[in-house]
C-alpha cells in the first residue's frame, strides 16, 4: 500500500493522512489525462452541436454537456478488458473508455471512417475495441446486456468488470428491476452507474418516481446504493474505486447514483418547457470542468498555463478530428446490406 502519487492506483482505495484517495492514488498524469478527456467530451459535443445547427449532419443528438465528471470519472480507471454499456447520451462514456474524437466525428458525419462505418450515428457511436459494448437507442437497453457481459466475465474466470450507464428515467423501466435482481442473486461484477440529471426527457424524477433517489431502490436487491455529487470528479472516482474493488473481488454489484444535470435540452427538438431558466443557470455555475481545474490547481497538480495548454491541445485535436471527418468517405448504396450478418447468407 502506498500513497505515492507516482504509482498507479492499487486495487482498493487507501486513506492518506491529509489527501483524499482520489488525489492520493492517481498520478498527476492520470489526473491531467482525466481533465483532458473532460475537455474532449465537452468540445466534441459543442462542435457536434454546432455542425448540427449548421446543417452539416442530420438525425438527432443527445448532449451530455454538464455531465462530464460522471462520464470520465467512472471510466478513467477502467481496464481495456472491462466493459461498458452506454446510452443515447453516450459521447462522454465513449471518450472516457478511450475512443478517439476523429472516428467519433466521422461516425457523426456518417462516414466509412466512423466507429460504426456510418451505420450507427450519434446515438450509437461506440468502439467495441475499447470494451464499449455499445451506446443504445433504447432506454434501459444496456442494463441486461451489462449483466450478461458480467456473467460471461464470471464464467471466463476473469476479474474484469462491466459498467452499466443509465439515466434516472431508465430506472423506471422493467429492465432495471430484472437486471439488478439478476446481478445481485448471481453476485456479478457489474457497476450500475445511474446518471441522474433530474429528468427523463421532460419528466422530472419527482413525477416519475415515488422515492427521492434512484439509489433508494438498491436495497430491494440487497445491493449497496451510493449517492455522489456527479459534478465532482473526486466524489465520482472514489465511489467507483470502492465499487470496482468490490466487483473484482467477487463481492457483487453496486449501484452508484451520480447527481448531475444536462445544461442542454434533451435533444434537438427540446424547447425546455418543463424546467426554468433559473434552474439551468444555477447548474451552469456547478460546471464540473472548472471545478476540477481549480481542485487540481489547489492541489498543486496543475498550474494555469498547463491548464491552458491542455485545453489548447484538445482544441487542436477536435479541429483535426472534425476535418478528418468532413474529408471522410461516404458509404456506397451497394454496401447497404453488408454487415447485417457475420456469415453472409448463401
Amino acid at each position: 500500500m502506498t500513497s505515492s502519487p507516482k504509482k498507479p492506483a492499487p486495487r482498493t482505495p487507501v486513506l492518506h493522512p491529509n489527501v483524499r484517495p482520489f488525489y492520493a492514488q492517481h498520478s498527476p498524469d492520470e489526473l491531467k489525462e482525466a481533465l483532458r478527456r473532460m475537455h474532449l467530451v465537452r468540445k466534441f459535443e459543442e462542435t457536434a452541436e454546432d455542425s448540427y445547427i449548421r446543417g452539416l449532419t442530420h438525425g438527432t443528438m443527445h448532449l451530455s454537456i454538464g455531465q462530464e465528471a460522471s462520464a470520465v470519472g467512472t471510466t478513467m480507471s477502467l481496464r481495456k478488458t472491462d466493459y461498458i454499456t452506454s446510452t443515447h447520451r453516450g459521447h462522454g462514456h465513449c471518450i472516457g473508455k478511450g475512443a478517439e474524437a476523429k472516428y467519433m466525428f466521422a461516425e457523426f458525419f456518417g462516414k466509412e471512417e466512423g466507429y460504426c462505418r456510418g451505420r450507427g450515428g450519434s446515438m450509437h457511436i461506440a468502439d467495441p475495441e475499447s470494451g464499449n459494448l455499445g451506446a443504445n437507442g433504447i432506454v434501459g437497453g444496456g442494463l441486461p446486456i451489462a449483466v450478461g457481459a458480467a456473467l460471461a466475465i464470471k464464467q471466463q474466470k476473469r476479474d474484469d468488470v462491466a459498467v452499466c450507464f443509465f439515466g434516472d428515467g431508465a430506472s423506471n423501466e422493467g429492465a432495471f428491476h430484472e437486471s439488478l435482481n439478476m446481478a445481485a442473486i448471481w453476485k456479478l461484477p457489474v457497476i450500475f452507474v445511474c446518471e441522474n440529471n433530474g429528468y427523463g426527457m421532460s419528466v422530472s424524477t419527482k413525477r416519475s418516481m415515488a422515492v427521492a433517489n434512484v439509489a433508494d431502490r438498491a436495497p430491494a436487491y440487497n445491493m449497496p446504493g451510493v449517492i455522489v455529487d456527479g459534478n465532482n470528479m473526486a466524489d465520482v472516482v472514489e465511489a467507483m474505486m470502492v465499487a470496482t474493488a468490490r466487483a473484482r473481488g467477487g463481492e457483487g454489484p453496486t449501484l452508484i447514483e451520480c447527481k448531475t444535470y444536462r445544461t442542454r435540452g434533451h435533444s434537438r427538438s427540446d424547447r425546455n418547457k418543463y424546467r426554468t431558466k433559473e434552474e439551468i443557470e444555477e447548474w451552469k455555475l456547478r460546471d464540473p470542468i472548472p471545478h476540477f481545474v481549480n481542485e487540481l490547481i489547489s492541489h498543486g497538480i496543475l498550474d494555469a498555463t498547463e491548464a491552458d495548454t491542455i485545453e489548447k491541445s484538445v482544441d487542436a485535436e477536435i479541429k483535426a478530428g472534425f476535418d478528418f471527418a468532413v474529408a471522410g468517405t461516404n458509404p456506397t448504396p451497394q454496401s447497404l446490406t453488408r454487415d447485417v450478418y457475420a456469415r453472409e447468407i448463401v
Partner: protein, 328 residues
Amino acid sequence: MRELSFAQALNEALAQAMETDPRVFIMGEDIGVYGGAFGVTGDLVHRFGEDRVIDTPIAELGGAGAAVGAALAGSRPILEFQFSDFAGLAIEQIVNQAAKIRYMLGGKTHVPVVFRMPSGSGTGAAAQHSQSLEAWFGHVPGLKVIQPSTPHDAKGMLLAAIEDPDPVLIFEHKLLYKIKGHVPEEQYLVPIGKAAVVRAGQHATVVGSAIMVHRALEAAEILAAEGIDIEVIDLRSIRPIDTATIIASVKKTTRLCCIYEGVKTLGIGAEVSALIAESEAFDYLDAPIMRLGGAESPIPYSPILEKAAVPQTDIIVAALRNLVKGQS
C-alpha cells in the same frame, strides 16, 4: 377549404374525442407539457388537464398494460408510443393481452384501447428508431391495424379507432406529420378496413400505404407522361385488409405491384401478393406480382444508406415501367 398538417389533424381528433366522450384519455411519454416527441398532443394537457393527458414514466410495458386495464374498466385510453420501435417492450400487453382477452373470456368483455405508433425511417434516427412494424401486428387476430396517408384520413381513422370497441394500432409515418391537406372541422369517421383507389389507371395496380402512397402517386404522374397509366390504391387498413378492392383493380389492370417501407420479407406486400395469387384475380394476371419493400437490413444512419434502404420514387418509376412494358 381548411388545411391542417397530419399532426394537427391527429391533435384535433384527440381533442374532439376528449370533448365529446369523458371516458377518453391519452397517456404516453412526454405527451404533456412537452407536447409529444412529434408535437401531436401539443397543448392538450393545458386544455384537458393532467388527469386526462398523462405523462407516464419511461415504462412501455407498464404503460400499455395500464391502458389495457383502463379499457377493461370502462375508460377509453389512447396510448402514444414515442416511437413504434419501443412497442417492442410492450408486445406482451398488446399481443398476449389486448388482442386475446376478449376471445379468452368468451366474448364477455372487450378492450377498447388505441395504440399510436409513430413509425418509419427518413429522420436519420437509425436502426432502433426507424422501423416499420405494421406487418407484425397485422399477423395478430384480435388487433386492428391502420395506416393513414393523409391528414383527412389521419383524423377520420383515429376517431374511428377511438370509437372502435376493439384494440386498434394506428401507424403514423413520421415523414407525414408535416404534410398538409384538407381536414373537415366536424368529427367524422373514416371506416377501418376500407382501402381507397386514389388514382384510377388502366395498365397496372399499385398497392401501398402511408408514405409509399405519395411516392406511388409521384411515380404515376411521371409515367403518365410516357403514356403509362397507373392505378394507385391506398391500403389504409392492414388488418382487416380490403381484398375486394384490390381484386377488382387487378382484374382490370392485370398487373400488380406492392410498395411498402417495411422489410420486404414477410412485409405487408407479401400478404397482398398472396391474397391476389390465391384469388380469382390470379387468372387475370399478365405478369408476375411485383414487390418493392424495405431492404433486408436494419435502417442505417448515413443519409445515403437510409435512402437506399426504402423504395424511393425513381426506383418505383423504373420498376413500374418494367412491370408494364416488360423492359428493365
